[in-house]
């Protein structure tokens, strides 16, 4: 339900946000587009969806991985709707960025404590937009979400994060202390 709500907001936001560049606050003559960041709306919703309480107990039950796989499949498929709804020249970028955000959420959920798991997918894109943009030169290499659609490194990182995040989320067992 939360995922569907987030994706609906993302579709609405994509249509309402300006497609042209806007001034970056506090940066002289720096302008940047906002629309590549729209998958962050999904990233805001994912930590609470992905994090499951009593994980050590759940992992005792058979089929816990199947449950997670179903959840991942649903999120991955549903997240394609905002991509499909975007204009043709935005689709590749949004697809890559959606993969990046989902992968980052999966890794953060798996490896970070709950209190910190929401920080990377939320704070990372903010820093990329605010600090990684320039007036005359293209965005810094680390501002992955803002790279050009043909830029290869950001695509590779997105693919890696998706695969690594998915694998970790589906396989990493919580250590039972006792």
């Amino acid at each position: 339900m939360i995922v569907v709500l987030a994706l609906s907001i993302q579709v609405t936001a994509t249509t309402l946000w300006p497609s042209s560049a806007v001034s970056v606050p506090g940066r002289e003559d720096v302008q940047a587009v906002i629309w590549p960041l729209s998958p962050v709306i999904l990233g805001v919703a994912l930590p609470t969806v992905l994090k499951q309480g009593y994980l050590d107990v759940r992992q005792v039950a058979a089929g816990w991985q199947r449950d997670r796989l179903e959840l991942l499949a649903f999120i991955s498929l549903a997240s394609l709707f905002p991509v499909a709804a975007a204009s043709e020249h935005e689709q590749l970028v949004l697809l890559r960025n959606t993969g990046l955000v989902i992968g980052l959420c999966l890794l953060a959920t798996t490896f970070l404590p709950s209190a910190a798991s929401w920080l990377p997918p939320t704070l990372g894109p903010m820093a990329m937009w605010l600090l990684g943009t320039h007036s005359l030169s293209p965005p810094d290499r680390w501002a992955l979400l803002l790279q050009d659609r043909d830029e290869i490194v950001s695509r590779l990182v997105a693919g890696f994060l998706m695969i690594a995040g998915g694998t970790a989320y589906l396989t990493r067992r919580r250590r039972v202390r006792g």
């Binding site: 990233g43 805001v44 609470t48 820093a127």
Partner: protein
Amino acid sequence: MSGWTVSLRRSPGRHAAPVLFTVLIAQVLIRDRAWTYEWTWALYQLAFNTVLLSPIVAGLGAWEGARLADSSDYIGTCPRSWRVALSAWLGLILWTAVVYLVGVVVVALLVLARGTPFGPRLVDTLTILTAIGLMAAFGALGIGLGWLIRRRLAAAPLAAALTFCTTLWLYLAGPGQFVTVGGASGSLAGATPNTTIQWRQVSVFVGISITLLLLISRRTSWGVRGPVVLGLFSTLATTIAVVGLADAGQAVLVPYNEPVTCTGVKPQVCAVGGYARFRARAHDDLAPLIHALEAAKVSPIPLVFNQNASPGQVLVGPLQNRFLTGNTSDAALLVSAAYVDKRCFLQTRREDDVALFGLQWWLAGQVGGDRGNADLLPEKLTKGTPADQAAFIRDAVHTLVNCYQAP
């Protein structure tokens, strides 16, 4: 151990302090550090970090708010339960303030390391106060949102994202004075933060924080009615403060006649505190250009260059921090800027462009600098005799001095 100490120890702010500090210092170190020559600019620029820190503080507040909501049944049975929300907020804000003040110390060390004499002003304290105040208000908003949503992992990122979007929206679409507590991409020599706006910002941020905490406290109390009169008074006072801030306008920086010290003649160079040590070098870079103008019998000639001056004052030329700190190629630009009123750029007249580019081209040539493109310029200047060139420059200066024609 008192309840206050416990909430300080258990605050998410304590665990997030390294993250907050990393974000703060990364911004300070990654970006251009031209501000290290000016105390006011340095501390005002540091306050811009609230754009990234406020979302984190709001997220942490939301986490704390949701945690309080989880325990609301238990909290509600305690006497003076309002202190729980207050101590949760205080714990978060104290840690945030500690991180920010450490950032202030780092910035101060960077400024001193640059060789800038010690000289922060009282207004700089107000800049620090508004930055912490803004984060305190967003922290209280986060606690409120967390209290309402009750799911920590939903509330925290949502509060952070909403804070960031709200900040950007107010920056871009206005009214910006509600979130602009710092951030200047250029030197603040000749400008200062607007203290009227800063005081009103402090009152708005304090008002929002107290009002929200009172509202949350009312929800935490079971049998005992919360402080209704205080709540109403706080809401009213905050509303008045918000109206007052909205009414103050968006000019967060205002002109300021900062004290300067001067050196040399033809031209005399006057700079503010942190740049005073560069006056002699600036004089040596400008003097050949002034002598060249004199030799060409140009009148009037700017015989003083002052960091507080605006372009177009003719007899007093402006000085840029970039030039003072070593970008000597700007000398020709500054001399020609002395003649050109900023309002001239509102009108596009070809003769003004030719005069300006011609003067810069000629001045650059006098000191063997890069002259740039001469396509626009007449042959009288580019291929003429020295007498022809001097005549062109006298005409150009006359054109530039009179370039602004009131409609």
